[in-house]
Structures are given as structure tokens and as C-alpha cells.
Symmetry: C2
Subunit: 414 residues, 2 copies
């Protein structure tokens, strides 16, 4: 059998019949290069939102089972049209809903997890010379209920199918790949040829919108090689691969900026055991995800405690913390929405020194105050005043990426 | 178990969220009357056409399997929204696609025939106190391919489910029921309380658009009682029932007008065996359905042969017959698009005399020439000049229905 490839198109890539034709040509290119291709498609751009709005006209919180029933039609329409386009171009194709593959999931509607994938039908279709076009984002429970996989679900479908079939995975999207920084902020930002799962995962959580963390995690767990690229050009994009396949040795791979967080500070908290527990237990009970947490050393038995949460959760978090603050005798609670988190990411950091110091130096030299710091093995994040966010990214990009070690662009040769 | 009822809504009855709410109230009324209700819904008005147009943008003749995949999403959206509406009104509901019921069909895409219906899941859902909302028009093959049932398919779904569950069937549509004549032509036309399957079948083939002949045939075969009524009023509609349940004794139930046919005449055909065969064999080979056929007695070895076909097929039929005419030495072929078929329909005709004579008398008194006549056990049709069509219907309605035997309106008491 020829080499297998799973090729996924996002909503903008199939947003009109013209665009589906463009996407189909990409598929045909691959077939002509000798690949057996499995296509995964999202719904046409806008369709899922249209359906969700119809549902919300009825009920702000419609039953999730029915919501899945409704929105899964978006992908079903896209795959039928995609298969028609391939057929009309002379390449016989067969569309398949999640339940027809089948892609078996648990029964948690609107955010189901894939449990099992049947590949026999796909293999038969490929063997008969047809191109299977699979609906992304959707699955089916053992009880024949339609489920959807939640945000980024179509990417997950593609990565999971690639794993199940032992194939590589191409994700066609509306950007050229993963960049060393957001090109709208840093015009000299460069496309990254290869990036490790770990780096991509950090970047996804740090605000880079190319892929959802969930699909990258899955790919990492099962060693699926992903090629993220634009459906509107023929350029190579970015390969997301195991660390050992990333041959460029750089300490810092990319700079990210996240402006969607707020900082909440509990001022003059009595410094005794159990205080942090009470605050973060209350937030956890309210399903609020806390990101950075900073507690300074105490003075005369009092300390300040800061943390960041998603801006959308911030007013609710503030309210919850205000109650706890009263109970524990803190002085006040202050919320700051004008913060930004700037981060440097790179697996090279594991084995290099001085990255943190250099980052702090760059910020200091630009008179940017650091409000909080958090680190992992492969990233350093600093919380700063939001108005300095873009400046910080540019300066860090210049210091680490442009003036840093030479970055060798490696073509993967497939 | 309470009495079961299958309730079907057409596309206009679910054409907007407001209309779905209206339809849901009809369902809830029935539940409050003590019925267990199974809902069948068509796609929202316009959606199926929108999808077919998208497909035709790609390919004037898209693969039928993919067309079924595409258009079946219309009903799926409608049932999800319908279930959400019922839920929001406090009546828990569960939507089901054809494959989830399952409604098993053969594999003739776009016009599949129902082979088998699984009722266990429906019964379980009803038992748990939920209202099942089933997608009309669609089924699934034994190989898990989505099929659709062709024109009038949602009615068929409803009738077939009613049969499978031993239930009566209510068809909600945008008309009040079946009338003694088209009320736009005959303002004094009356709604018929009860009509037999046979009469309804004749009327469906004669141009009455309330129900497709196919669903009536199915209902007749399996003795399913159908109540056709408007979703925009609370009036009783028309019951379509076995002949023995139609208690009113009238010779003529209704007058119909069909203006979609053309007449083709082969002039001066040599009158010898095999001529009619050659003409109608050629039309049959071209899949053209012939309706009325008239051949006069011959004069000096020649005769004229006329027949009617659907207007859409008429040019093609003329062309085919012209070729045959040449081969068999007929003088010429004449096509007339300005014809109308006016019919009187009623099971009472089986046991009454003089209906034909009275019909001819009415036409004669109005100076309307009869071009052709065809009869069945329960109907008489006359082909006339189209410009007299509406006049003929009014005069026949007046003679047979208004001045005819007293029509007793019988309420069914359910």
C-alpha cells in the first residue's frame, strides 16, 4: 500500500464551493505524488455559529445531546460537498460521518473523548481506490448517540485517524505555519520549520492560536507527526514532531504574548497556613482556572498574594476572592485587567543557562516592570503592564531569535 | 400504555423557530390529551433546496449517495431544534436520525424503499417519558449508508412508523385538509371529513397536492388511519381511512383539475396490429409515463391515436413519436399543450349509475368539447380545452357536490 496521509481542512479552507475546490486540488496533488489520502473536514466557516445561534434562540442552555445532533450537521454538509467536488474532478470519493467510520467516544456531549476508532471501513474504501472524506469534530457513543469533541475537535479527529492508520497528518489552515512570534507584532518573525510537541504545547497554552493544546497533546502521546500549513499557498508550513527530530539547537524557539488574563491581588493577607488553600479552593469549586500565582515574603505577619485568571472569569473570581478575603481578614482585593504575559519558549532551555537572566535584562533595559514570573522546563513567562506587551515581544524576539544562535531551517525531505 | 400517535410536520410547519414552537404546542396538546406521541419532522422550508443548489453548483448530477448525505442534514437540524423547543417547554424530548431508529431501506439512493423498522428504541424512549422526534425522509441501508426516500418521503416515514407502532397518524401541513375541489377555483368547496384510501389515491394522481400517492398507497396496504390537518389552526382536517369507515354515501366525493398534461395525436395511422405497441414501447423505453390513451374507430384502414403525457415530457415524447410515425407511415404528429383533465372521484360510483352521463351532460350544457375520456372504478376523467378547465370544475362541483346527495359531515369522535 502507498504511504498514507491524513489531510485536514479547517472551516475557512472549506468556506465556499470555490474554496472546497481549492482544497480538493491540494488533495489531488498528494494523490498524484503517490499518497493514499484520508480527508478530514470541518464545517464551512460560519455554519457552526449559525446553528448555535438558532439553538440559543430557543434556549440559552439547550440540552447538549441535541446541540451535538444539531451542530454535527455542519461537518456532514461539508464532507458531502467535498466528496462531490473530488468526484467532479475525476477522483472518486466517499464521505463518512463520525458514526460511519466509526469514531467511538465517551458520552460527554459537546466535549467527548475518543475511545476507539474502527479503521476497517476506511481501509476498504482506500483499497477500492476511493478517497474517504471524514467529518471532523464528531463521534458516536456505543449507544449510537452523536457526540462532538469540543473546541479544536476537527484537528483531534485528524490526529487520531493518523494515529489509527499509522499515517502522517497535514493540517491545512489559514496561516502559513508556526512563527517565532506573531508576525503582526514582529514583522521580522520567521516561520519555524520544525518544532517539538512540548514547545508547541507551551505555545498553544500561551496564546498561539495555530492548534489547540489538546490535539498536540494527543499527537505527542502517540507520536503522530503533524505538518501545519496554509491552504492558500504551496509553501511548506511547520512540522510538529518529537524532540529528537528537531535538529536545530536553539535555546529560545519563539516569543509569545497573551493578553487575555487579568491579575487579582489580595492585599495584606495574614500569613498563616491554610490561607492560600482557602482562596484557591473557592476558585476551584467555581471551575475557575488559575494561571500564575505569586506570593511575596511576609512583613510583620502579612503578605500580598497575586494570581492571574482568564479575563472572562476575572469579575467572578474577584467576587469570590472578595468574600474569602473578608473571612480571612485581608485588607483588600485589587483587580488589574491591563496586564500581559510575555513568554520565551524553547526546548533548548533545558540544557542552556542564562535565558532567564537575559530575559529580565531585556525587560529592564526597556524600563518594563515585571509583576510576576512563572517558569517551566522549557518556558519563562513574565507578567507585565499590557501597554508594554508588544514592545516586549519585539525586544525579546530581537535579543533571542534574531541575535541569538543561528537558526538552521531544515526541510523535512518528505 | 397510552394510545400512540405519530404526528408529522411538513417544512412550512417548521420553517422558523416560531413555527417550531407552534408545532410543539400541537404536540403538547396531544400529550395532555393522554397520547404518547412520536414526532416526525421534515427539514425547515427552503433548506433542502438550498443544499441541492449548493450541490448543483458543483455538479449538475452529483453522486446520489453524496446527495443523500448532504440533504439528510436538513431533517437532522429540524429534529434537533424541535427537541430543544419541546425541552424548553418542559416536555423532555429526544431527536433521532433515520439510522438511529433505525429505518432500514434498500440502497437506491434518493428514492429508497423502507424495508424494516426497528421500534425497540422508540418504545424505550416513550417508556422513559420522552417524546421521540424522528427525522422524516431518511433511512439507512444495512451497510450504514444514509438514504433518502424521495418526494413525499417524510409522509412515508410517518405512515410507516405509525404502522410499525400500531398508531394513528396525523399529518400537519399548510392546508386545512382535503376539499371537494380546489377552494381557489371553487369558493364553495367543502372540507371532506372522511375519504377512503382509494379516493385519496385517485385524487393524488389527479393533481390534488395534499399527499403523495406513495404514502397513501402504503397506508392503504397496511391500514394506517391518517388525519391530514393544518398546523395553523385547531380545526379537524380530513381523515383518510378504509372504505368501510367512510360513512357518507355519495357517488362523487370531489372534483379535480390537472393542467400539467399535454396531448399528442398521431394522425392517420394505418390501422394494423402492432402499431400501438411500437409507439408505446418507444415511449416506455424512454421512461415516459403515458396517462390517457384514445384510439378512434378506423375509416378506410386509417385511425387517429391520441395520448397524454406530463407537460415536461411532452417535447421529448413528440420527438420520439415523430420518428415512429415516419416508420409506420402515419400522416403527422400534433402536440397540444393547452389541455386540462377534469375528473370526478368517488367510491360511491362503484354502486351508482348515471355519473358518467351526468358529467357529459354538464360539460355539453356549457359547450365544452370532450377530447378524451378515461375511467376507473371510482373516477371519470375528461380531457378538455384548458381554457374551460376552471369553469368545468365549478359546474361539476355545483352539479355533483352542491346539488348532489346530501353530504353528512361525520366527526370521527377520537
Amino acid at each position: 500500500m502507498d504511504k498514507l496521509l491524513v489531510v485536514k481542512f479547517g472551516g475557512t479552507s472549506v468556506g465556499s464551493i470555490e474554496r472546497i475546490k481549492n482544497a480538493a486540488r491540494k488533495v489531488i496533488d498528494k494523490v498524484q505524488q503517490g499518497y493514499k489520502v484520508v480527508v478530514v473536514s470541518s464545517a464551512m466557516a460560519g455554519e457552526t455559529d449559525r446553528l448555535i445561534n438558532l439553538a440559543k434562540e430557543i434556549d440559552p442552555l439547550p440540552p447538549e445531546r441535541e446541540l451535538d445532533m444539531l451542530v454535527s450537521t455542519g461537518e456532514q454538509q461539508a464532507i458531502a460537498l467535498f466528496a462531490m467536488v473530488l468526484n467532479s474532478m475525476g477522483y472518486p470519493a466517499v464521505s463518512l460521518c463520525g458514526w460511519q467510520v466509526p469514531i467511538i467516544t465517551d458520552s460527554v456531549h459537546t466535549k467527548a473523548r475518543v475511545r476507539k476508532i474502527g479503521v476497517q471501513r476506511l481501509k476498504n474504501i482506500l483499497k477500492e481506490g476511493y478517497i474517504p472524506v471524514v467529518a471532523g469534530f464528531q463521534g458516536v457513543t456505543e449507544d449510537w448517540e452523536i457526540t462532538t469533541l469540543g473546541r479544536g475537535g476537527s484537528d483531534l479527529t485528524a490526529v487520531a485517524l493518523a494515529y489509527a492508520l499509522g499515517a502522517d497528518c497535514e493540517i491545512y489552515t489559514d496561516v502559513e505555519g508556526v512563527f517565532t512570534a506573531d508576525p503582526r507584532i514582529v514583522p521580522s518573525a520567521r516561520k519555524i520549520a520544525r518544532i517539538s510537541y512540548e514547545e508547541m504545547l507551551e505555545m498553544a497554552s500561551l496564546g498561539a492560536k495555530v492548534m489547540q493544546a489538546r490535539s498536540v497533546e494527543f499527537a505527542m502521546k502517540y507520536n503522530v507527526r503533524i505538518h501545519v500549513r496554509s491552504s492558500f499557498s504551496d509553501q511548506e508550513g511547520t512540522w510538529i514532531v518529537p524532540e529528537e527530530e528537531v535538529m536545530e539547537k536553539v535555546a529560545v524557539r519563539a516569543i509569545t504574548l497573551e493578553t487575555k488574563e487579568s491579575r487579582i491581588t489580595v492585599v495584606r493577607v495574614p500569613d498563616r497556613p491554610g490561607i492560600a488553600y482557602r482562596i484557591f479552593k473557592a476558585l476551584g469549586d467555581a471551575h475557575i482556572v488559575v494561571d500564575m500565582i505569586v506570593q511575596n515574603v511576609s512583613h510583620q505577619g502579612y503578605t500580598d498574594l497575586s494570581f492571574t485568571v482568564n479575563k472572562a472569569d476575572a469579575p467572578r473570581a474577584e467576587e469570590i476572592v472578595r468574600k474569602v478575603a473578608q473571612e480571612i481578614g485581608a485588607q483588600e482585593v485589587v483587580r488589574d485587567d491591563n496586564v500581559a504575559k510575555v513568554s520565551v519558549v524553547g526546548i533548548g532551555m533545558k540544557s542552556s543557562y542564562g535565558t532567564a537572566a537575559k530575559m529580565f535584562e531585556v525587560l529592564y533595559k526597556n524600563n518594563i516592570n515585571i509583576m510576576a514570573i512563572s517558569t517551566s522546563e522549557i518556558k519563562i513567562s513574565c507578567l507585565i503592564d499590557q501597554k508594554y506587551g508588544e514592545l516586549a515581544v519585539r525586544e525579546l524576539h530581537s535579543a533571542f531569535v534574531e541575535e541569538g544562535e543561528e537558526i538552521k531551517i531544515v526541510n523535512d525531505g518528505t
